[in-house]
Symmetry: C2
Subunit: 219 residues, 2 copies
């Protein structure tokens, strides 16, 4: 079990708090907005009304004792930066800070943030992918050339054929790691005679361009 | 190539616009804030200064002609809801809307949004995972019981042993799909004699509890 202090209980900081608390972690929620702090009293281990830029307040909260301090202050870039350097100099062990822009991120990195997150930019990227390639449900970049992707089968030409008949390895240069026929019917490391149906979701591994080529042909 | 109209060029809508534009998609960026619209003129195919709740403006922009309309209005829940129903009734084919809360999401779904996104809540969840299980770099939930995970090896007990010596399949009930030794050295569907080193990243597939158990022992 780890201890977390979150400064800034907006939508990102607040949902981070709820997720950690529901996983039984020790979480202190801090915000200068009294109403917000009250809302989170039900979820957090502890809460405090304080300004992240108030050194005495942070010292009194023993901010250096936490395993992780997350600075989730958004629009007020100045407050985000000043809070981060204050928390760093008070001796925090691991600092996560939310950045509004790449320049903001540069400052945060240079003044001591260990991990920087861009929630909205990251989600903009993910949603763009979902909209441009709706049949690629999830993917992991393994290296700059290889990825692992979950692809939904929508091409009738592939339906009701076995993996060996489709010949993924030679025709598409893809390795099929799993075939999900439905939410409760999945074949891990399937046999060559496994039959593929429309709407099945295949987990495949291969070069990015081969994954994209298969998606383009399949969609 | 698809066409996109984004109403609301905040951090989420704005980064979605930039991502789509950099992938050579046709994007119209709309916001009621003149300065923001000017900033995005350099990235979007077209831009317009308009209020999403202005029916004449949306009709003039031919909002129904786009493949996807994304409503990325945040704090103003009323404007988000009224814009969504307007866009729906003007005949938009596919509507993506950003929701602030689960109640807001319910309303959006009921009035016609096809896809609802919660960027901050989703990122709060992801960052919580990253902080609680720092050696699980990425994961995909395949079913409610099975997942695919990228796990970094930090346990010296496993270092410099072959996959067969560690015996993942019997000891950990995991299937090792790839071993990444470094960003340019990856073994896909590795042989049993593949040797694992500290800091290698293994892509494994197995039951959630087995992935978690391995992570707990490995960390
Ligand atoms: N100096 C400060 N000390 C403590 N809390 C602060 C400070 N400045 C801002 N906050 C709090 O941080 C929270 C998040 O900030 P804000 O709403 O500006 O950003 P946001 O990026 O829109 O947040 P989100 O996207 O996570 O909802 C707010 O609840 C705000 O009250
Ligand atoms: N009725 C409207 N018509 C057009 N644009 C609007 C309307 N209402 C708000 N917007 C724009 O939507 C954008 C995003 O809204 P806002 O800043 O409230 O939300 P946010 O959730 O903080 O955004 P983000 O987290 O994406 O930065 C703003 O640029 C704002 O000008």
């Amino acid at each position: 079990k780890q201890t977390f202090a979150i400064i800034g209980l907006g939508r990102f900081g607040g949902s981070l708090l709820k997720k950690l608390a529901s996983a039984h972690q020790d979480v202190l929620g801090i915000d200068c907005d009294e109403e917000l702090v009250e809302d989170y009293m039900a979820f957090a281990t502890h809460t405090a009304i304080a300004d992240g830029q108030d050194e005495d307040a942070l010292r009194a909260l023993d901010i250096a004792s936490f395993d992780h301090v997350i600075i989730a202050i958004g629009h007020n870039i100045q407050a985000s930066i000043l809070t981060t350097i204050l928390v760093k100099d008070l001796g925090a062990k691991h600092i996560v800070a939310k950045a509004e822009t790449t320049t903001h991120a540069k400052v945060l990195a240079r003044i001591g943030a260990d991990m920087i997150v861009h929630p909205e930019a990251e989600m903009g990227r993910r949603v763009a992918h979902q909209l441009m390639t709706p049949n690629i449900l999830n993917y992991i970049d393994l290296t700059k050339d290889y990825s692992l992707a979950e692809i939904r089968i929508t091409n009738t030409a592939l339906a009701n054929k076995s993996l060996s008949a489709i010949d993924f390895r030679n025709k598409y240069r893809l390795n099929v790691i799993a075939v999900r026929h439905s939410s409760d019917n999945i074949k891990i490391t399937p046999q060559p005679d496994e039959v593929i149906h429309l709407d099945d979701v295949l987990s495949v591994i291969g070069k990015n361009r081969d994954v994209d080529a298969f998606d383009a042909e399949n969609s």
